[in-house]
């Protein structure tokens, strides 16, 4: 019973390109509707059928992820995932990408990325307690890359600092593959008493739909489709697509929404994100199994002369939709007014599952919701699984430099060195809850009103994923879990952001397919479900494509936050050991990249069962109070990890590795010291403990069948691996702190 008469002639190719629909998709839409969509409908379909909104390529693949578990309160499908973290609290979290906008305007692109992910959390009634970021750029020596890097960091800080949510962690890599497409992912973690968790599904025909917050301007129209096409040289002309965020307004919006969360007068809340009013209203109604009618004439505008199409697709920031019963509208509006927020009733819930847009009187769009939200033809593999060239085992062992110089170069590398230049510009303490600050492994934030703490981190080494998408993605999950475990936390759930190139390219599609399989492998092995995530495709330009980049955001729980474990050494005289297997190979390591350019061939091995055992061992050792510090071995291997523990604590170390380079049991051929020190073998921690704890630790390690190698002791003011490497703590610290400084 559409009130819309059939559209005119089918659109031209140019008109379809404008809304990023293929001819086949257009024809599918016309078939489903039984008529040609009109101009407004076409734009709305284009936005909602974009990869960004519809997940047409990734949705079938994402089904492979394990998303259930005893603690899961909300899996994927809502604005964010939620897990039960004990004491009646739910932890709500999600990660999201803002790669494309950040490439065009780094400050605002990153800032509005933070604004967007914050809304996803407080929409669910949770107070955001922490932000994290995951950033990747081209080589830092290049002025354009430094410009992007500095702009993005300033934007993240600018938004988070102003709104008063601490940015407690993140990660940062520089690599050629990101020269033309940077990666900016932001994660937000919130906390809410479980019974106040709010869902975004509209109910009750006749209920009012309130639009709250910023006035609507022509911001980012086509943002959703924009994120779903690759960059070409005409991207410049789409520049008005960049939005300027207003963290102050969002702060007021957040406080007002949190005041209303759990209030029975609120039927549903939904933030406005991709595809603006269209995307949000459609999702809200679709989740609730109802329809919605929006009158664009009632939407407050920032600019004059906006068309219904522009109003519906505007991606103006800092806006929310709130569904309330008609009799409660006044009272709810008063809450917003107290925060000086403007709100208007812009529509209502209807029983029939349709998406109707009016401009004052006449309907300008009338589409069945299932066509709009679920109708897009899902994409399948563009071709058969490609044969991957079998890579010969490369086995690189040696460093081009003497060991001392090797260590200092690694510490000075922008990929490994101190991130202080970044996190000192982020308020990481507001909220009075940051127990472990940025700079170590995972950050730890206590849950206000509880003795529990949340450990959290983002991780993902794209070098491994590009060599072996499945294993690399599994490594990302394991590494994230390791970081959380090192603080004494138990990993409970994760979120993920899949940043890939154009999935219409067969290789890219299969990389994505395999990476998802790898996440699933590790999740299953470690018993950690996926509760939310985001997919960012088309991260490529005419000239280059990003390495497949899987970013894992992990959250863990510490039952008593006062008993968390530090990464830095604790006291002189403690013993140190490596828990986990020996490394030897330098393939795919940071040292290989620095010393020999990008010629990695083989990603590190991963034994998921061993990984699980090593993590259990460390977790139990911390719980039993046996460890004084724990730090996972990641990029740069044992040598860099040991130097970090020393730099962070101001305590040196003396270690013996002769026995490792020439293993008495002949377990393998003799290792080069470089391989032992800087190889990036997985499933390992560097731990320190009081001598008296050794026997108990050995017992525990034996019980978990985990190798435990004593290395030496903490103390002095040098980093010494006898006969192999000996540098002063001061030299190491200077190199480490220099890593991100401009080379003057």
């Amino acid at each position: 019973m559409s009130v819309i008469s059939a559209g005119a002639a089918p659109p031209t190719d140019a008109a379809l390109a404008e809304v990023a629909l293929s001819r086949a998709e257009y024809e599918a839409a016309a078939r489903l509707l039984g008529r040609e969509p009109n101009h407004v409908e076409l734009g709305i379909l284009g936005a909602l059928w974009s990869e960004h909104c519809s997940y047409k390529t990734s949705k079938p693949l994402l089904r492979a992820l394990p998303t259930t578990g005893a603690a899961v309160l909300q899996g994927p499908g809502e604005n964010a995932g939620a897990v039960d973290v004990g004491d009646g609290f739910a932890c709500v979290f999600k990660i999201e990408s803002h790669n494309h906008p950040s490439a065009i305007e780094p400050y605002q692109g990153a800032a509005t990325g933070v604004g967007g992910i914050l809304r996803d959390i407080f929409t669910m009634g949770a107070r955001p307690v922490a932000l994290l970021d995951s950033l990747r750029f081209g080589p830092l020596e290049e002025p354009r890359q430094r410009h992007l890097f500095e702009g993005v960091v300033a934007g993240i800080g600018g938004y988070g600092n102003c709104i008063g949510v601490p940015t407690v962690g993140g990660e940062l890599y520089f690599d050629e593959s990101y020269r033309e497409n940077c990666i900016v992912n932001a994660m937000c973690v919130g906390v809410v008493p479980s019974e106040r968790l709010t869902r975004a599904s509209a109910r009750g025909p006749g209920n009012a739909v309130l639009l709250v917050g910023a006035d609507t301007g022509r911001d980012g129209i086509h943002g959703a489709s924009f994120a779903s096409v690759q960059f070409d040289d005409s991207s410049e002309e789409r520049r008005p697509a960049v939005q300027v965020g207003n963290p102050f307004l969002e702060k007021c919006l957040m406080e007002a929404c949190l005041e209303l969360a759990g209030d029975p007068r609120i039927v549903a809340m939904q933030d406005l994100g991709a595809a603006g009013l269209c995307g949000s209203a459609a999702e809200l109604a679709h989740r609730g199994g109802v329809g919605v009618e929006i009158d664009v004439a009632r939407v407050a505008r920032r600019e004059q002369g906006m068309t219904p199409y522009e109003v519906m697709l505007s991606e103006s920031q800092e806006r929310m939709l709130v569904v309330v019963r008609p009799q409660d509208v006044d009272a709810v509006q008063q809450v917003f007014e107290r925060w000086d927020l403007h709100s208007d009733v812009v529509g209502r819930v209807v029983a029939e599952q349709r998406f109707v847009v009016r401009d004052g009187g006449a309907a300008v769009c009338d589409l069945p919701l299932d066509v709009l939200v679920d109708g897009v033809p899902q994409r399948t593999a563009p071709g058969p699984r490609p044969e991957r060239a079998m890579t010969l085992e490369h086995r690189m062992w040696a460093s081009p430099w003497p060991m001392e110089e090797t260590l200092l170069r690694l510490l000075r590398s922008p990929n490994l060195g101190s991130r202080r230049a970044v996190f000192r510009t982020y308020d990481h303490q507001v909220g009075d809850a940051t127990v472990v600050r940025p700079g170590g492994d995972a950050a730890v934030v206590r849950i206000p009103g509880s003795v529990r703490g949340l450990a959290m981190c983002t991780d993902g080494n794209a070098r491994y994923t590009s060599l072996a998408p499945r294993r690399g993605a599994a490594i990302a999950v394991c590494e994230a879990a390791r970081n959380v475990v090192a603080t004494g936390a138990r990993p409970v759930a994760l979120t993920n952001c899949l940043n890939f190139g154009n999935p219409e390219v067969n290789d890219v599609y299969w990389d994505l397919h395999d990476a998802i399989a790898g996440i699933a492998d590790a999740c299953t092995a470690l018993g950690v479900p996926v509760v939310s995530g985001n997919v960012s495709l088309y991260n490529e330009s005419e000239r280059s494509r990003i390495a497949p980049t899987v970013v894992i955001g992990m959250v863990g729980v510490i039952d008593d936050v006062a008993r968390h474990c530090a990464a830095a050494f604790a006291s002189e005289g403690d013993e140190i050991a490596v828990a986990g297997p020996l490394a030897g190979r330098l393939d795919a390591s940071e040292l290989q990249r620095l010393g020999f350019g990008v010629n990695a061939k083989v990603a590190p091995d991963l034994d998921l069962d061993l990984e699980r055992r090593v993590q259990s061992f460390v977790g139990e050792a911390i719980a039993a109070g046996l460890l004084h510090s724990a730090h996972d071995l990641a990029e740069g291997g044992l040598g860099v990890a040991a130097a970090e523990c020393a730099i962070w604590s101001g305590l040196g170390l003396r270690a013996e590795i002769a026995e490792l380079t020439h293993p008495p049991d002949g377990e393998r051929a003799p290792f080069e010291a470089a391989g032992i020190l800087f190889g990036e073998g997985q499933s390992r921690f560097l731990i320190s403990y009081a001598r008296e704890a050794l026997v108990q630790l050995q017992d525990l390690a034996a019980r978990h069948s985990v190798p435990l190698r004593a290395l030496g002791t903490v103390g002095g003011s040098r980093i010494t691996f006898s006969g192999v490497l000996d540098v002063s703590l001061e030299a190491a610290r200077d190199a480490y702190e220099e890593a991100l400084q401009p080379s003057a």
Partner: protein
């Protein structure tokens, strides 16, 4: 010769200007009910050596294109270029 150029950089009219909104509301709260709108931008004073006014203006234009404004979201105009006696007004 020494010139001083006044450059005005503003967000493009279509771009959201949160700062302008807060100042507008602040003024209204102070009783200035007749304020319709406020936009806040930058005023940049550049002191430079150049052969003549045309040269100075051309240089400043190129500075705007390369550094002073962000072409993605900002417009600029050069308000005035004037010769100064000798020594500096801006430092």
């Amino acid at each position: 010769m020494i010139f001083i150029a006044d450059v005005v950089v503003h967000l493009k009219p279509v771009v959201n200007d949160p700062q302008g909104l807060v100042v507008r509301d602040g003024l209204r709260r102070l009783g200035f009910a007749d304020v319709h709108g406020v936009r806040v931008g930058k005023h940049i004073q550049v002191e430079l050596d150049a052969g003549d006014e045309q040269g100075a203006r051309a240089a400043v234009e190129s500075m705007c294109d390369r550094l002073l404004r962000n072409p993605v979201i900002e417009d600029y105009r050069i308000d005035a270029v004037r010769a100064v006696a000798e020594a500096a007004a801006a430092s």
